[in-house]
Amino acid sequence: MSFRIMGTGMYVPPKVVTNDDLSQIVETSDEWISKRVGIRERHISETEFTSEMGAKAAKAALEDAGCQVEDIDMILSASVSGETSSPSTACMIQHYLGATCPAMELNAACAAFLYLLETAAAYFALHQEYQKILVVGCERISGILDWSDRSTCVIFADGAGAAVLERGSNYLDSICNVKGGDDVIKIPHDIGCSPFFKREQDTPYIHMQGQETFKYAVNSIAQDITTLLERNHLTIDDIAWIVPHQANLRIIDFSSKRLGIDPKKMFVNIERYGNTSSASVPIALHELKESGQLKRGDKIILVAFGGGLSDMACLLEY
């Protein structure tokens, strides 16, 4: 047993930061960011913590699904930028929604929303009484950026996306990969002030090797999509949309080129939101649905990659 997507929702904080705004902070330009990364503006939180944004996206998804909080059997969230390690963002989202169901957070960085779907499918299989699960990807990445590092601070941004899943049979297949290690992407925690700990730690910001990340991302997108199509005896023409993690427009475009597919098959909204990590796929899915271009019964592929290194793709019938 798996699920079908009942409703989706998103939330981004009201503050819009343009490329010109960023050029006042670091040495960059609107032309360079637009052309080289594909981002024109992004939303950055001024007052809201991660789980507060997650709760707002969750409320929007519940409304879209026509559900009440009491209908939800479990809340699963993902974040690399929660305001606290404990309680988790899932527990705080439960608190803000006034829910009473179990709530749990997982971390698979930018690929995490897909891992939430995989975990939800497992919970539907484990608990036959579960009818609806709320999944939320939420991030205040602006809090873990080195704002003097122009290679990362122009890319990442804040936001949240959510979906209400209902027991069903529309989660058709998935592929998960992890290539563990911290040499390409890492986000160290603050090491605290233990008087006994002797090791030094990198600064608690996103550290990313751009070229290696690009290579991993493109290879994983191409391989994961190819594998899903082959083992389900499908061609790209059977797929209405691919919704990729919105990391960098060039990753998406080069992946299309290597797959030999029309780039228009990939839904892209990075130009207005930047890379919102675990929130990017549900935000993109919500916007795709709201645009009227996604129809019930369409087969879609979601694909994401990120720190871990982790990547995942899944085949769904919307």
Binding site: G210, F214, K215
Partner: protein, 75 residues
């Protein structure tokens, strides 16, 4: 063969006449950035069955050609 392939790739990627690209041409002069280099490296990996990550030291066409020729000879 490596040289011709790399020059053809650069000419296409930058919309430049291949005759204008020499072994001394700097990637920065062609407007090639690190992600362009990564894209080209991935295409070269497929073309010549090698594994390779471009480093900042490979800043001219000649240096890239030399590096790829060395890898193909070892492969």
């Amino acid at each position: 063969m490596v040289k011709e392939k790399i020059i053809a790739m650069l000419a296409e990627a930058t919309d430049t006449d291949a005759a204008e690209i020499t072994m001394e041409t700097k990637f920065s002069d062609l407007g090639i950035d690190s992600l362009d280099m990564t894209e080209m490296a991935m295409d070269l990996e497929d073309e010549f069955s090698i594994e390779f990550t471009p480093s900042p030291e490979l800043n001219t066409v000649g240096k890239l050609v030399e590096a790829v020729e060395k890898l193909t000879a070892e492969a």
